[in-house]
């Protein structure tokens, strides 16, 4: 899959190559990185953008859920949702199905102006899904949703992507993307800095200014008894939550223990260091303070265990 855009005004130049199998793409990056511009380019809303994407094929219909929910104030909630089906008679979705999947039932009798941001986002999402787009673009539109509800909505989106709807979700929250995305794109200053499968997140380049909270690695789940990997189930681990331990290591929790050698030690913001531990297949990142690093006498090639 190829996505290429050049937007002179917004200074965004995006070129991505992703596997064609990826039907759910997550986009992340700092504010002003060009995430919204990318979605608007994909939706065909940026006239001054040059480029194309095989993600959206000719004659395919695009649905766009912007960050600020656009509900028409002169229409009520039901009329707003119904707009999704009004101009797409052949939509495979029914109003009641979408409403119940997004838990909008109790919102129907309310006035649009009294809805909270999260409620508006659900109504806009319902309207857009009802329109049955081939590609659904969502810009941070789940950010105001309460956590349990967000996970329900995310699983519904995942289900939609399995049934053939391509989805691009922009989010600041990496764990949300891990839950449903097949592939990820990281943007910074209008450029793609990394793209790839979710399980390869540890390979993403990390520099001094990378936000400490956003450093993740994915580790294959291991069998408690044998210590061997279990299929393709990955655990996404935030580098902040990883604890390093130098041998000899107590055999207390095989499931969450990763053995390897230190492949690199990098300086991050503040007094933090990023220690990358590598075994034959995988990398796990850990954040330690400079003091802890000195105390443990960490250095490259040192054998070490990482717990999380």
């Amino acid at each position: 899959m190829n996505i290429e855009f050049l937007h002179q005004k917004a200074r965004v130049a995006i070129t991505v190559n992703l596997s064609d199998d990826a039907s759910f793409i997550g986009v992340f990056g700092a504010s002003g990185a060009g995430k919204t511009t990318l979605l608007r380019c994909l939706a065909g809303l940026e006239e001054s953008a040059l480029g194309n994407a095989d993600l959206v094929k000719i004659n395919q219909r695009v649905g766009f859920v912007p960050h600020t929910p656009t509900l028409y104030p002169h229409l009520d909630v039901v009329e707003n949702i119904a707009l999704g089906k009004m101009y797409e008679k052949h939509s495979r979705f029914t109003v009641s199905e979408v409403i119940s999947a997004l838990h909008c039932e109790e919102l129907l009798a309310r006035s649009v102006t009294t809805l909270s941001a999260g409620e508006k986002q659900r109504v806009v999402l319902a309207r857009t899904i009802l329109n049955a787009p081939d590609v659904l673009l969502i810009d941070e539109a789940l950010s105001s949703l309460q956590s349990t509800l967000k996970h329900k909505v995310l699983s519904y989106l995942k289900q939609l992507s399995r049934s053939g709807m391509k989805i691009v979700l922009v989010s600041h929250n990496l764990p949300d993307l891990f839950q449903c995305a097949d592939a990820l794109i990281e943007l910074d200053s209008g450029q793609v800095v990394w793209s790839g499968e979710v399980s390869k997140i540890a390979n993403r380049p990390i520099h001094e200014n990378t936000s400490v909270d956003s450093i993740y690695s994915t580790v294959r789940q291991t069998d408690v008894q044998t210590g061997e990997s279990i299929g393709e189930t990955y655990a996404a681990v935030n580098a902040v939550d990883v604890i390093l331990e130098v041998p000899p290591i107590s055999q207390s929790s095989l499931l969450h223990c990763f053995h390897g050698t230190i492949s690199s030690i990098k300086k991050l913001q503040g007094e933090n260091l990023l220690v990358s531990v590598k075994n034959e297949n995988e990398i796990i990142h850990a954040i330690v303070s400079t003091a802890a690093c000195a105390k443990l006498q960490l250095k490259e090639q040192l054998e070490i265990a990482a717990r999380f």
């Binding site: 707009l83 101009y87 797409e88 329109n131």
Partner: protein
């Protein structure tokens, strides 16, 4: 109601003529100002400010200046005057159609400005969403743009109506005082005062005062809804 009976048939003709002039002017202005305001709201060019200034000129110019230039430009021996004569079969001066033309130009800022503000306040996302949902452009205008702009349209219409009703200078320059053709309320009032017919003058002035007050109160009330956009 003794006073009202003191109004002559000619007064009632003037009242009706004024209402007719205001209605026709308002209708023409809404049709004209809508696309104009839309273009101005979207147009990004330094020349925009010049065009805006030209549209706003009647706000600051004495109406007699405007009337004078219209008389000059549409003089029967000028190209514009000949064209006008071809279209309407009469001269611009001393006719109702000429009066409508003058009023349209005179009240143009009152129609363009509220609609311009409305179009500026209209979030582009509303239109983008409608387009992506597959709404045909004509439906976007009827179902989205016009309902969202309703408070601004009402304000523009109200201001145009009230302003046209109260115009004097342009009418004086263009139309003179021909009963049933160009003799509107403000001219009639002037004639009454000149002829020392104060009862009639009082009534005409009172009618204009009340209508204007009611119209403006209504517009301020509608103004509350502008926030809803």
């Amino acid at each position: 109601m003794i006073g009202l009976t003191s109004l002559s048939a000619a007064d009632w003709v003037a009242i009706w003529l004024t209402v007719k002039l205001s209605l026709v002017t308002t209708l023409i202005l809404l049709i004209l100002a809508m696309p104009l305001a839309w273009l101005l709201a979207r147009w990004q060019h330094p020349a925009k400010y010049l065009v805006q200034a030209i549209i706003m000129l009647p706000l600051v110019l004495p109406p007699t200046v405007l009337g004078f230039y219209l008389l000059v430009v549409f003089a029967p021996d000028s190209v514009a005057g000949q064209l006008w004569q071809m279209l309407f079969g009469s001269t611009l001066a001393f006719t109702f159609s000429g009066l409508v033309f003058g009023s349209v130009i005179f009240s143009l800022p009152f129609a363009v400005q509220p609609l311009y503000t409305g179009f500026k306040a209209l979030a582009p996302e509303y239109l983008e969403t409608a387009k992506l949902l597959g709404m045909p452009p004509v439906t976007v205008v009827w179902k989205i743009i016009l309902p969202l702009l309703k408070p601004f349209i009402i304000v523009a219409a109200g201001l145009c109506f009230a302003h046209t009703m109260g115009e004097f200078g342009v009418v004086l320059m263009l139309g003179g005082s021909i009963p049933g053709e160009t003799q509107v309320l403000s001219i009639m009032l002037f004639n009454h005062v000149e002829g020392l017919r104060y009862t009639q003058a009082h009534w005409l002035a009172f009618i204009m005062l009340m209508v204007s007050l009611l119209l403006l109160s209504m517009l301020f009330w509608v103004g509350r809804f502008r926030r809803a956009i």
